[in-house]
Amino acid sequence: MQKYMRWSGLLVVLMLVLAACQADTGGSSDPSADESTPASSEGAGGTADCDADEFGCVEIAEGDPIIIGTELVITGANESLGLDSQYGAEVARGLRPDIAGHEVEFNHQDDGCSAEGGTAAARALVSEENIAGVIGTSCSSAGIPSAEILSAEGVMLVSPSNTAPSLTAPETHEPFYARTAHNDSIQGAAMATFVCEVLSLTTAATIDDGSPYADQLANVFAREFESQCGGTITNEEAITVGDTDFSGVLENIAADSPEFLYFPIFVAEGALITQQAKETSGLDDTVLGGADGYFTPDWLSAAGEATEGHVLSGPDLAFAGDFYEADFLPAYLEVSGTDTTISVFHAHAFDAYNMLADAIEEVAFTEGGTTYIPRTALKDAFFAIEGYEGITGTLTCDENGDCADAKISVSEVQDGEFVRIWPEE
């Protein structure tokens, strides 16, 4: 027994020492993660900027492509969310295949819509030499660890669909993270304003589906509704993704006869609740509302006639004018091979690509045939973007990474079509 103790004690000590040494040296015995070797120190400015830059430069030799990573959920039950964003990025690359004189190549990774998936994908991308930036993640749960990992290496991460507030909250914001998707607080508040002031309703109930996105949206709406116009929230319910029968939830809500029912969830359950709500007596006069989670044509076809009169909030795509219909959509359908868009954040991914490209072109410089992109300068340039006209609106990045246009619009389903009704154009 004594021997055991001695050996195990030695073992523990050895482990801790090794780990400590490991972490002390920053853990990079991995040459591929080493960025700070200067290529050549010729001339003032130029590559000296690379030395001065804390994270060094991305170096792209002549004729080599610029590598942009994507970290989206491309397999599993949520794959349509990530694939949709991926297609958006592909369309953007198709329309802008060159950045700073180099071709663009994508390195697609799967964020698995989970924290561990995001971690693995981020590590994979970071170990890739010369990755200029990353478009991702799809899910906030993957985004939080990814932002940490990528910021530690100075790689820009721009998300088309993360909506969790903590990602851009001052205390928890990672320096190299930004997003073109709306912060939930904006969208939830917009809907609350609409219901309060335009519809003049005083009681409401919410249903979320356990995802961080829906949970947060419903929560923000509820709090804003209460504070903005002193409305009453009669019920805050939740369902589980994969459920199909919602009579229990709906009867529970119907018992208090709210005037408005808000369920900012996704297509599958959204369609079912839309249909079943119409069949629930007690909700006959209730206005139903949703958010961009099912603001898509396949919700319209899945829920059919029950969608009439439904209101939904989403990014104000009217802003894009004809570009979306005439140029973006056909290109999208070509790339994806589907008949319609398969989710809702493709436009955000498109804008993310272009903003990244703009920032790269602003700070990249070429010397001796090789293009250098100083990482910290890239970040600063990105965050300095103001009034960028994308298809999701006019984007301006604040210092915490929220770039999305605060323009949210509300549409109503009339005769089986989405009709924008607020704010007035």
């Binding site: 780990a19 490991q22 799967d110 819509c113 561990e116 170990s127 530690a152 949970d215």
Partner: protein
């Protein structure tokens, strides 16, 4: 048409259908992106190839129930017939896909797939290639019966090893690069797999090595067996020492990204060791193991994270560990007590239920004030007060794995282990001989819970955030699959299982997509062919094969003829 030929054709049919299945599920298409032998064979093409070889091999193997052993030319004919049949079915699939648009049903019945199957040569030539190629490959597979067994064995093992090395390209390549052996890496690996040169070298060396070992290794093996006990123990110690040093140096060898993968493998090794105690030692099929994982992770999160909702003591990781152990003991008791009187299938379903209940509660709005609900808990500090570095976090994981392994080994040979063995064999008899099954069952659950919770704690600290999505039934299935594959009751088996079932999908994205399909197939195949696992403990092997006679593994109740004289044809 006689029995062997009929069986050969039937085998060909099954193989063809397997190929159809693999194609329609999308594997062939997905695997196209990676080469097995650079510029020669893609991983996607490897699948039908393997099927055809296996079909040929099986078609020509002795028919056990009728005691028929094919010989000579007959072997080749059987193999070729089976292979051709399988090839024909694949050709038919390709033709069907091109003729009829089935994509509204079968999303992968694309022209792309047809093109792959026909080698891009169109209907007629492609089909011909498939049928003739199938026949040839079937022949090759069958020929393994004709060559001397030593050679057949070496060839088969060499093939498997070469395939494994090709699949492990991301890992081995990274190791070589980190050791500075870039030149070696370039010679051996390219395009996600082996180069032709590399393949030849690996195959040849392995085949030669195994052959030498089989035929000429007699002397060496005898000498090893004849070694005196203390010299053998020394040899074992040296072996363990080398292994240990290798493990210590691993993060250095593989770099950041792969350290992350290795860390994940380590977490699952720990889970596997824990589940091994419950399922492997005590024979209690627990399908809700993820509940322990979740409890460990959330306990750590609540106790160490500054953003824990209601109660944030912000303990350091090691300070929170005792509480994790206590929580483990409690939940082990909670799960174990209601199921004490349940056996087998019922136990499985109820524990499955517990796993789902755990996840639902952690997700629920009801528990949100305490554990964060859908928003999870963020900002969990890593175990060592340095950066969240995969190469650093590897060491605590390794430490706990070693502790768990040592604990499991000593338990297995202790009084407790013997009691578990008795319980596993026959519970009523064990009770009758005075074994307090209640206590031992609870002990098994609590120990299993301890390892599970520790793994969960490490997970939380490693990733830094916990969300309920991370704790669904797939974790339990992962853990179960890897101990089944590796061999229950055996530490090395658990490690092998984890490397194959957890490491490989992490390394190869293509596998990640089909992960669970492969798990399911592995589970069924293992149970049908080798229920004791790849590296079983000898005891296990004896247990599971005790009913085995000369013929089939599990005798059926309704008549199977036995005892016919052997006939060669």
């Amino acid at each position: 048409m006689d029995l062997p030929m009929r069986r050969a054709l039937f085998t060909g049919l099954l193989g063809g259908l397997a190929g159809v299945h693999v194609g329609l599920v999308g594997m062939i298409d997905s695997f196209q992106g990676r080469d097995t032998i650079a510029d020669l064979i893609t991983l996607g093409s490897m699948l039908p190839l393997l099927i055809l070889l296996l079909v040929g091999w099986r078609a020509a193997s002795p028919v056990k129930s009728a005691q028929l052993i094919p010989t000579g030319a007959r072997t080749f004919i059987l193999g070729a017939a089976a292979g051709a049949t399988a090839g024909l079915i694949l050709a038919a699939l390709a033709a069907l896909i091109t003729a009829v648009n089935l994509r509204w049903i079968l999303v992968n019945a694309t022209p792309g797939l047809a093109e792959i199957l026909q080698f891009g040569q169109g209907l007629v030539v492609g089909s011909l290639i498939l049928i003739v190629g199938g026949a040839l490959l079937g022949l090759a597979g069958a020929s393994l019966h004709v060559v001397p067994p030593a050679i057949a064995r070496s060839l088969a093992i060499a093939f498997v090893v070469s395939l494994a090395v090709a699949l492990l390209e991301p890992f081995l390549g990274a190791v070589l690069r980190n050791l500075g052996l870039d030149a070696v890496e370039e010679v051996f690996f390219a395009g996600g797999g082996l180069t032709l040169v590399g393949a030849i070298v690996v195959f040849g060396l392995t085949a030669a090595g195994i052959y030498a070992w089989t035929t000429r290794g007699e002397g060496a093996r005898e000498r090893v067996a004849a070694m005196p006990a203390d010299r053998r123990r020394n040899a074992k110690l040296i072996w363990y020492g080398v292994l240990f040093l290798l493990l210590l140096a691993l993060p250095q060898l593989v770099g950041q990204r792969l350290s992350e993968v290795v860390g994940t493998v380590g977490l699952y090794v720990l889970l596997g060791l824990g589940l091994n105690i419950v399922v492997g030692f005590a024979g209690l099929l627990d399908l809700g193991y993820v509940a322990f994982y979740a409890v460990g992770a959330y306990t750590t999160a609540v106790l160490t994270s500054p953003s824990s909702p209601v109660f944030a003591p912000e303990l350091p990781f090691w300070g929170a560990l005792p509480f994790v152990i206590i929580a483990a003991a409690l939940i082990g008791l909670m799960v174990g007590t209601p199921v004490l009187r349940l056996r087998g299938d019922y136990l499985a379903i109820v524990t499955l239920g517990f796993g789902e209940i755990a996840r639902t509660i952690f997700l629920s709005a009801w528990a949100q004030p305490a554990v964060g609900g859908a928003q999870g808990i963020l900002s969990i500090p890593p175990p060592l007060p340095f950066e969240r570095d995969p190469q650093a976090i590897y060491y605590p994981i390794l430490l706990f794995c070693i502790i768990a392994a040592v604990a499991a080994t000593s338990l297995a040979s202790s009084r407790v282990g013997r009691a578990w063995n008795a319980m596993r064999e026959d519970e009523s008899v064990a009770e009758a001989t005075g074994v307090n099954t209640t206590v031992y069952k609870l002990l098994a659950f609590m120990l299993g819970a301890a390892f599970g919770c520790l793994s969960g704690a490490l997970f939380a600290a490693k990733i830094g955030v916990v969300f309920p999505q991370s704790f669904d039934i797939l974790v339990s299935i992962n853990a179960l699959a890897l101990i089944i594959l590796g061999g229950m009751g055996n530490i090395a088996g658990v490690v092998v299982g984890a490397i194959v079932l957890v490491g490989l999908p992490e390394l190869l994205r293509e596998f990640a997509e089909y992960r669970l399909l492969i798990y399911g197939a592995v589970l069924v195949a293992m149970m049908l062919l080798r229920p004791e696992g790849l590296l079983p403990s000898r005891q296990r092997q004896a247990e599971l094969h005790e009913r085995e006679s000369d013929e089939d593994q599990y005798a059926e109740t309704s008549g199977e003829e036995t005892g016919r004289p052997v006939v060669t044809i």
